[in-house]
């Protein structure tokens, strides 16, 4: 196989080649499996951006609709044919039944079906040629804006939960405003509606709508925008398929709810808006919460609040009761008994010790007192001795007294006053 790879394809090729270049040396060419080749081509095609979003004109042939809802057909012109598939999700929005021989313009992207080694157009839209420029313009703009990513889910903004001001871009006359008013005043009366009246069909309508959306974003902040009109013909809805309106909705920093037409009529505004409502009433329901529902929710919350608090208390009460069942609190005396016993033993000991110590001391005292008694002069006197004093001093020798000295003689039962008649020393 010879592959002429150049430019950006080199990267892809070299990336793939290393996986299956079996024979790399010299003149020999690598051998590839069929699926490798198909995958390589599939990637090549997928890398071509112009092929991803395109419009193709041709005549339908071999049209087949399967029970699954998917449609298969071929588009051809005088010299060439292109296989096409339209999946059910797109086919169900077709406003006509495609038949063989019909000249159409198909929108979609080319991709390779790896299993069969074929490339085909994965059609997302199909418009019979000659049905009018509007339908074609719609499909063309849709392809273009899709390619730009205007309809991507990642750009959708969340609607505020409790809007205070809701900007409404619609006609001052007509049922749309009334429907929105009715729903909002019933569900969430505290929200203020701010109408920017615009023409919703005919010449100049698109400019007015786009300007109104810009106005709210630039100089009149509201929480949510509802942009819409009642249902109508494709021509009536045209302003909501105009590029400036779609871009204004996409660019809006205020979340936009589109409320155009009814269930079956999709406009490009619907694709670009943050939320699409099938009717103006539904748009209002999307925009504001229901007061009564919220009241029920609040009651539920406060019920849970009470329950949790009560449970919290009950749990603690139970823990407390279980604790109180424990011996320490229920029969504290049991815990004390042992200590009391220990105390008793100790105090008994103390008592005994004290008594012993006292006895010892008492005995000592008695001994001392006896000793003291024996030494006492009174005892001496009792035994028949006497004490002689002169001038208050006890006489222990004859040398201390002379004749005629007055002396005092103490006996066991009193004393005598006497005068010394003579002094004689002891013999021997």
């Amino acid at each position: 196989m010879i592959v002429d790879s150049k430019g950006s394809d080199d990267i892809m090729w070299s990336g793939l080649s290393c996986a299956f270049q079996v024979l790399s040396g010299g003149m020999e060419l690598a051998v590839h499996s069929v699926s490798e080749v198909n995958r390589y081509i599939k990637n090549l095609v997928a890398g071509e951006l112009p092929l991803q979003h395109m419009m193709v004109r041709g005549e339908i042939s071999n049209f087949k609709k399967y029970p699954s809802g998917h449609c298969y057909f071929t588009l051809k012109d005088s010299v060439s044919a292109l296989k096409c598939v339209m999946f059910r999700s797109y086919a169900q929005h077709l406003r006509f039944l495609p038949v063989n021989g019909l000249q159409v313009i198909a929108g979609g992207g080319i991709a390779v079906y790896e299993r069969d080694g074929i490339y085909q157009l994965y059609a997302e839209s199909l418009v019979p040629e000659g049905t009018g420029d509007l339908a074609l313009a719609f499909e063309q703009l849709k392809e273009k804006l899709t390619a730009e990513g205007l309809f991507l889910e990642e750009h959708k903004q969340a609607l505020p939960r409790f809007p205070k001001k809701i900007g409404v871009v619609t006609s001052v006359a007509g049922a749309v405003l009334r429907d929105i008013y009715r729903v909002v005043s019933h569900r969430w009366p505290m929200a203020q509606l701010v109408l920017y009246p615009v023409q919703v069909q005919g010449e100049g309508a698109a400019e007015q709508i786009a300007r109104a959306i810009g106005f709210f974003n630039r100089s009149y902040p509201v929480d949510t925008l509802i942009v819409g009109r009642g249902g109508g013909s494709m021509e009536d809805l045209q302003p909501f398929n105009e590029e400036n309106v779609v871009r204004a909705i996409f660019a809006s920093r205020i979340p936009v709810i589109s409320a155009v037409g009814h269930e079956t009529d999709f406009t490009l505004s619907d694709f670009a808006s943050d939320r699409r409502a099938a009717t103006p009433s539904q748009a209002a329901e999307l925009a504001v919460p229901d007061r009564q529902e919220l009241q029920r929710y609040l009651q539920l919350l406060s019920g849970r609040l009470r329950q949790v608090a009560a449970d919290g208390l009950e749990q603690r009460r139970e823990r407390l009761l279980r604790l109180m069942e424990r011996t320490a609190l229920k029969e504290p005396q049991k815990l004390l008994a042992e200590r009391r016993q220990r105390l008793d033993i100790v105090s008994l000991k103390l008592d005994q010790l004290t008594k012993t110590a006292l006895k010892d001391k008492k005995h000592g005292l008695e001994v001392a007192m006896e000793k003291l008694e024996t030494l006492s002069p009174i005892q001496v006197l009792r035994r028949g001795y006497s004490v002689v004093e002169r001038d208050g001093k006890i006489l222990t020798s004859i040398k201390n007294a002379a004749v005629d000295d007055e002396i005092k003689i103490s006996l066991k039962d009193g004393c005598l006053k006497a005068r010394v008649e003579s002094v004689s020393g002891q013999k021997g």
Partner: protein
């Protein structure tokens, strides 16, 4: 009449949801639980009161006149 500064409804509701969720986690002390409970009760009463008292606000019509926003009362039906 001097009134306590009112917390916006949406903040009150968000705070109430937060409190209930925190309480339901079950790791609050008794004191915290009682404080949260009392705050929650006040919030839920305020929220319910706010919903009960809510009246329809006057709707407006705005138009741009020479670059300026001009407001008018909007009477529907």
């Amino acid at each position: 009449m001097p009134r306590k500064k009112e917390i916006p409804f949406e903040e009150s509701l968000a705070r109430l949801e937060e409190i209930v969720a925190a309480m339901e986690k079950g790791d609050m002390s008794l004191k915290e639980l009682m404080i949260a409970y009392s705050e929650g009760v006040t919030l839920s009463q305020n929220c319910l009161k706010a919903l009960d008292m809510a009246e329809k606000t006057m709707d407006l019509m705005v138009q741009e006149e020479s670059g300026k926003a001009v407001e008018k009362d909007l009477v529907i039906e």
